[in-house]
């Protein structure tokens, strides 16, 4: 570093270049001034440095807990990391590098807008993969006391258990019960096979269509109050149906269909009751219209039989 001298006769350009060189090489880049120096010009910096260097024998360090330690002149400031937490590396010249080890152990927490580990990135309450659309937990279990929400949950195993509900293949079952309870409605677009056990089956369309299948039960089919019953469309699909319903029972009643083929007779039937339908010894005289009698007497005039018949 030589003295820079601008002659009177030097040109302004010479002055410029000399000045720039002076600034760049002799004074140095102010940007490179140590952060420990608060001064903003060389003279002040020098003065501040002189002041530091000469005002004390060392310096004081203090941590976040306000614990202070004086480092005197000639003392060695030893900087150590903590295993798996931080590491300090001294290198030439007069360099102390503070960093994190490859394996970091944080006792309490890490707070950062975004934390990236491998290709796993945690931002806010979001965990994403930076190199994939899927996050793999390997063979580990994923346990949460909260909820798992996703646009789609796909399992690759044969059996998946949610609480006591187990999904195996296309089978859903309960691990602690013989029944799987669905507290809400169940809509199935496909076909339900096997057994259905329910206390209530409803339809959003107002009817449940069993198609051509039979409806079998070894129990009862209950029809509720009001005017419900069986409705038969008949062979013609039109506005007319036949409804079978019960009058309001005042006690338990049993209407038994006999083990025979035939047509049910109603009060609307006309000329429908045939002789074969009458049980033997079943018709009393009270059922005859305009009752007439024919009494058979023996030769002593004692009635031996009365024949009842319908009158005109």
């Amino acid at each position: 570093m030589a003295v820079k001298n601008i002659a009177v006769t030097d040109t302004l350009e010479t002055f410029r270049t000399t000045f720039n060189d002076l600034a760049a090489n002799d004074f140095g880049d102010i940007a490179n001034l140590s952060g420990s120096i608060s001064s903003t010009n060389l003279v002040d910096a020098m003065n501040e440095t002189i002041s530091i260097a000469t005002s004390t024998a060392g310096f004081t360090i203090e941590d976040s807990s306000s614990t202070q330690q004086i480092v005197g002149g000639g003392d060695i400031l030893r900087v150590f990391g903590t295993s798996n937490e931080i590491e300090a590396v001294v290198s030439a010249t007069d360099t102390l590098t503070i960093g994190l080890p490859d394996a970091v152990s944080i006792t309490s927490s890490v707070t950062a807008p975004t934390v990236t580990g491998g290709s796993i990135q945690i931002t806010g309450n979001t965990i994403t993969a930076t190199d994939s659309t899927a996050i793999s937990f390997g063979s580990e279990n994923l346990t949460t006391t909260g909820n798992i929400t996703g646009a789609g949950i796909t399992g690759t195993g044969t059996t998946h258990t949610l609480g006591t509900v187990q999904i195996s293949g296309n089978t859903i079952s309960s691990t602690d019960s013989t029944a799987l309870n669905i507290n809400d409605g169940l809509t199935v677009t496909g076909t339900i096979t096997g057994n259905i056990s329910s206390t209530s089956i409803t339809s959003t369309t107002g009817s449940i269509n069993f198609g051509d299948d039979n409806l079998l039960t070894t129990g009862y089919i209950y029809f509720g109050q009001n005017s419900f019953g069986l409705i038969f469309e008949g062979s013609s699909s039109n506005a007319f149906e036949t409804t079978v319903r019960a009058a309001d029972p005042t006690q338990d009643q049993l209407i038994l269909f006999p083990n025979e083929a035939g047509t049910i007779i109603t009060t609307g039937s006309t000329d429908a009751v045939s002789e074969a339908m009458m049980a033997d010894d079943a018709i009393g005289s009270a059922q005859l219209k305009s009752l007439v009698t024919l009494v058979l007497y023996n030769s002593s005039g004692t009635p031996v039989k009365t024949i009842y018949g319908a009158g005109a």
């Binding site: 009698t293 024919l294 009494v295 058979l296 007497y297 023996n298 030769s299 002593s300 005039g301 004692t302 031996v304 039989k305």
Partner: protein, 312 residues
């Protein structure tokens, strides 16, 4: 105790008999009686139960002889009457006991209330039996007198009759005047010839069609009499009545020139020659003069006997 109108089964309907149908039943009763009459007659050799009747004829008087001249007519014996008694007709009864009516033995009829009642014994007699016996005991010899007897002067049984016996019950004889000749004096005194034999016939009409009435069975149902049942019942009743009833309708027979009841068949005439004697002589030799009076005259009816049928 009245004439009833029995009921019949008219193609499943109960209907009163017409008077014609009742008459048919009466005719059937007579026919049944004719097949097995309760009061029957027979021809016996002698000692019949009916009164004896006599056939008389003349026989020649005994011859008179003289060694010197013909005996005079005055001294020659007159023809005499020979009487032959006929007691060949006998009557007997079967000894029928009346079948007891337990209340439903006889046919049914409509009573005054249009109920049905079984006829009583008195009803049966009034309706069927007495009219039948009235017909049977009539003086005619038609099919409606079936089972009763009459006298025929011919052994050939006409249609509807049966010869009871080939033995005549009566023979009307008289002296065969042609058998007496002077050259044969002394002639046998009695040289009769039979003018007419009388035979006993029974009326045996053919079966008639009829409609059996209905009766109360033991289970008090109505039924048309089975033919065998009806025949047995009605035959028992007609025979019992004819044999031994005390209601004025028992049948009996008598024979004589007079008697109770209606005559049956031919009167059995006892005819006899009415001459006083045909004086004849015979010269045998000078020491043998003979005279004898032979029967002569014209036949006159001495008596006419009738078989009579009587109800009492």
């Amino acid at each position: 105790m009245a004439v009833r109108t029995p009921l019949i089964n008219n193609a499943g309907d109960i209907q009163q008999m017409t008077s014609a149908q009742i008459d048919q039943v009466i005719d059937h009763i007579i026919y049944l009686y004719s097949t097995d009459p309760g009061v029957s007659m027979s021809v016996v050799s002698s000692g019949g139960s009916l009164s004896a009747i006599s056939d008389t004829r003349l026989q020649a008087g005994a011859q008179s002889t003289s060694v010197s001249s013909f005996p005079s007519e005055a001294t020659t014996a007159e023809p005499s009457v020979v009487t032959v008694s006929y007691d060949k007709m006998s009557s007997s009864t079967k000894g029928t006991s009346l079948t007891a009516d337990t209340g439903n033995l006889y046919p049914c009829y409509y009573d005054g209330s249009n109920n049905l009642q079984a006829m009583s014994l008195a009803d049966m007699k009034d309706t069927f039996i007495h009219p039948a016996i009235d017909l049977m005991t009539a003086g005619t010899t038609t099919s409606q007198q079936g089972g009763t007897y009459y006298i025929s002067s011919s052994a050939g049984a006409p249609a509807g009759s049966t010869l009871v016996s080939a033995t005549p019950v009566f023979s009307n004889t008289q002296a065969d005047t042609s058998a007496y000749t002077a050259g044969s004096i002394p002639e046998a005194l009695d040289q009769p010839t039979t003018l007419t034999n009388y035979y006993l016939m029974r009326l045996t009409p053919s079966a008639v069609t009829y409609t059996a009435p209905i009766y109360l069975r033991s289970d008090n149902d109505l039924q048309q009499y089975p033919e065998a049942n009806f025949n047995a019942m009605i035959l028992n009743l007609i025979n019992y009545t004819a044999e031994s009833s005390a209601d004025g309708y028992s049948i009996s027979y008598n024979v004589g020139t007079s008697g109770s009841g209606n005559t049956r068949g031919s009167g059995m005439a006892d005819t006899r020659l009415n001459g006083s004697g045909n004086y004849q002589t015979r010269f045998v030799n000078a020491d043998d003069y003979r005279a004898q009076e032979f029967p002569n005259g014209t036949p006159v009816t001495v008596n006419t006997y009738y078989l009579r049928i009587n109800k009492s």
